[in-house]
């Protein structure tokens, strides 16, 4: 039930409407002064005494999308009929510090556990269901995993490998970067004639189109957005993936990068630090500190709400680096991805687990995500990443 922040009665239409707008904003509907003004104008042109008319008018003005359109009646009733739940401020301030402390204590505890047993974090499914260990051939899988570890990204911790990771990323970024525009522009070479310029030039040659000028479809830059999962199961890859992100970011000024675990952090600015090793070390420390449960669905949702509107459009490519092991219900990933996809972007998911033998996207979250992805690829070695270049270039 929606929360009403203004339980007391104000006097006058203007004040009531302004309060109603704050009530809407408080419940996540993006309305501003312009809407208030428009609402007041609208009320003058209808019979504002009649509640249903007012509801319809305010609905047409204040709602901006289908979701909000569906919620509006409830929000309206909450405010005008006092049917909402009142927010109790005193109680909240009392609760909050306690919550906060508990949080930091827990994450501190978790990071200690994580730190003391690095070996623990290696098996990616250990914080989820442990299906692999319980099955009959658990031992075999474990030993095979150990073998394959040699080729895994976790081995590449040396500075020169980080540099390599960065170079690979830069090359991939360059491959994805340009996409042919749909519109034609004047250019030196090209398939189509630029009649507008030809006509103008022909004035000088008495209507004889001597100079044939051309139009072509220029390349438009693609905007990259990278989301890196740094939960417990991903810690071992975090360093190299961070170097990879650093490479992506370094290639231009528009690329955006985020870390997520149980929270979402924007790291674009930190990664633009000139010193690769300093940046990577700082960030991997930060990432390890949070290693623990992953909430992919929640974080993607958060990304949608906070950043996507500004950062993602039809010319964006979103790269998600995650093993897909999620503590959220799988449906959450699917809805978040579907919503992200609505912004018109391409979504690439690079999963370090897929390179492992016999791996299927068993994790339910991954299975739910697959239909929304443009490319789903394995990337647990740097050569894998490098091999992706032609693939990604075609997106």
């Amino acid at each position: 039930m929606p929360i009403t922040q203004f339980p007391t009665r104000a006097d006058g239409v203007v004040e009531r409407i302004t309060d109603f707008m704050s009530h809407l904003r408080f419940n996540g509907v993006g309305v501003g002064v312009a809407e208030t003004e428009l609402a007041l104008l609208a009320l003058a042109s209808i019979d504002a005494i009649e509640p249903n008319q007012m509801r319809l008018a305010l609905k047409a003005i204040c709602t901006k999308d289908a979701e909000c359109f569906g919620q509006f009646d409830e929000l309206f009733n909450a405010y005008w009929y006092g049917k909402g739940r009142r927010r109790d401020r005193a109680q909240e301030t009392k609760e909050k510090p306690y919550e906060k402390n508990r949080w930091s204590n827990r994450s501190l505890l978790e990071s200690e556990v994580q730190g003391s047993g690095i070996g623990n974090a290696d098996t990616p499914d250990d914080n989820n269901d442990g299906e692999a260990e319980q099955s009959g051939d658990g031992k075999l899988i474990a030993s095979r995993t150990l073998n394959l570890n040699k080729a895994d990204l976790r081995e590449f911790m040396k500075p020169e490998d980080l540099v390599w990771a960065e170079q690979v990323a830069e090359r991939i970024a360059r491959a994805i970067r340009d996409r042919r525009s749909r519109r034609r522009k004047a250019s030196k070479r090209g398939a189509a004639l630029d009649l507008r310029r030809i006509a103008r030039k022909s004035v000088a040659t008495a209507g004889e189109p001597l100079h044939l000028l051309k139009r072509n479809r220029p390349d438009r830059p693609v905007h990259l957005v990278a989301l890196l999962d740094v939960s417990g199961s991903m810690t071992v890859y975090a360093r190299v993936f961070l170097a990879f992100l650093k490479g992506l970011i370094g290639a231009d000024q528009h690329t955006d990068a985020y870390l997520f675990h149980t929270q979402l952090v924007r790291i674009s600015d930190a990664l633009r630090d000139g010193d690769t090793f300093r940046a990577v070390n700082r960030l991997s420390m930060m990432a390890q500190g949070f290693g623990g449960g992953t909430k992919i669905g929640t974080n993607l949702d958060l990304f949608n709400k906070q950043y996507a509107a500004k950062m993602v459009n039809g010319r964006s490519v979103v790269i998600i680096l995650s093993d897909g092991y999620d503590t959220d219900p799988p449906l959450k990933i699917a809805t978040a991805l579907a919503r992200l996809k609505k912004r018109g972007c391409k979504i690439i998911w690079l999963n370090p687990l897929k390179g492992w033998k016999d791996y299927e996207p068993v994790a339910k979250g991954m299975a739910a995500a697959l239909p929304h992805l443009d490319i789903f690829a394995s990337a647990n070695t740097l050569s894998d990443l490098a091999a992706l270049e032609p693939h990604l270039g075609r997106i």
Partner: protein, 305 residues
């Protein structure tokens, strides 16, 4: 009842209320929900563009057509697609004509002011947006499926919708003689920018409920047997609750009703075979057709009755 010029003046003069508008629409053959009628009314009286969202086939485009009919003005339609550019949305010079007249002027030795001449309005090809702001009587401008155009076009559209003027480098700025009533529609294929949304009055058009759909059918095909119409609407309503790829819209209902009466069916349960064959009007993908075999169709008929 208000008609034609009276109706237009009534809306602008503020003597027409939103319920009048609703009845007026209904008389012209469009049964609008309260929310839609109010949104439309506000968009006219506050001179804001109207943004309509909803699934395909719920009558978003039709409302613009009906509105033009009610107000007896032109309907100017711009269908959006990816890569829509200024040459097909706003204006283009008539190059062939320009070249010919340069040539003609050259041969007649009258080349002094030829450049001015060929860049005059006479040589301008007007595309929907330019045409819409140069009408004598304010038209209805329908920008259809705006979500198919790309962000650049959306940004450009914003500029036009706020200033109602277009600048042409060779000619200068053209200001609107009348402001068109703008209706934008979107299927939700892509999210629209917040800036565009904020400028518009918004309404979400859903599939009509049973009574509304019955009224629509009554308006469009008045000679249809009342019992059969009830069955048809009931069937389509039940069909929408099935798990389909593409749910049938109002347009499909009307088509199907026409097909049913054309086939001479008096009762839906009378002839399962013909009924099944006529479903091509409602189910537009192969998997949807496979999802509604004869048994399911018969069950739905049973529900509808």
């Amino acid at each position: 009842m208000l008609r034609g010029l009276d109706a237009r003046e009534a809306i602008f003069g503020g003597t027409m209320s939103w319920t009048d508008l609703k009845t007026e629409l209904a008389d012209t053959g469009y049964v609008a929900s309260d929310a839609l009628a109010m949104a439309l009314y506000l968009s006219i009286s506050l001179a804001r563009p109207l943004l309509l969202e909803g699934a395909a086939g719920v009558g978003k485009t039709q409302i613009a057509k009906t509105l033009a009919e009610v107000r007896q003005t032109n309907l100017i339609r711009l269908q959006c697609y990816e890569g829509l550019d200024s040459a097909s949305a706003i204006y283009e010079w008539n190059y062939q004509r320009q070249l010919l007249s340069i040539r003609a002027a050259g041969e007649a030795h009258q080349q002094e002011d030829i450049e001015e001449k060929i860049f005059s309005e006479k040589y301008l090809l007007r595309r929907p947006l330019l045409e819409a702001i140069q009408q004598e009587v304010s038209p209805v401008l329908l920008i259809d499926e705006i979500d198919r155009a790309d962000e650049e076009f959306e940004a450009y559209l914003l500029e036009i919708l706020s200033d109602f003027q277009i600048s042409i480098p060779e000619l200068g700025t053209i200001t609107a003689t009348t402001k068109p009533l703008v209706v934008l529609t979107s299927n939700g294929a892509r999210d629209l920018s917040d800036a565009l949304r904020r400028r518009c009055i918004y309404s979400f058009v859903d599939y009509p409920d049973r009574a509304t759909e019955r009224a629509i059918l009554q308006k469009r095909q008045p000679d249809l047997n009342a019992r059969l119409a009830e069955q048809i609407v009931g069937f389509v309503q039940a069909l929408r609750k099935e798990d389909l790829e593409k749910k049938p819209g109002v347009a499909e209902t009307l088509d199907w009703a026409a097909a049913i009466s054309g086939l001479g069916l008096k009762d839906l349960s009378a002839d399962p075979l013909t009924l099944q064959a006529s479903l091509v009007c409602l189910l537009k993908t192969q998997s949807d057709q496979a999802a509604i075999p004869t048994e399911v169709a018969q069950r739905l008929v049973g529900k509808a009755a």
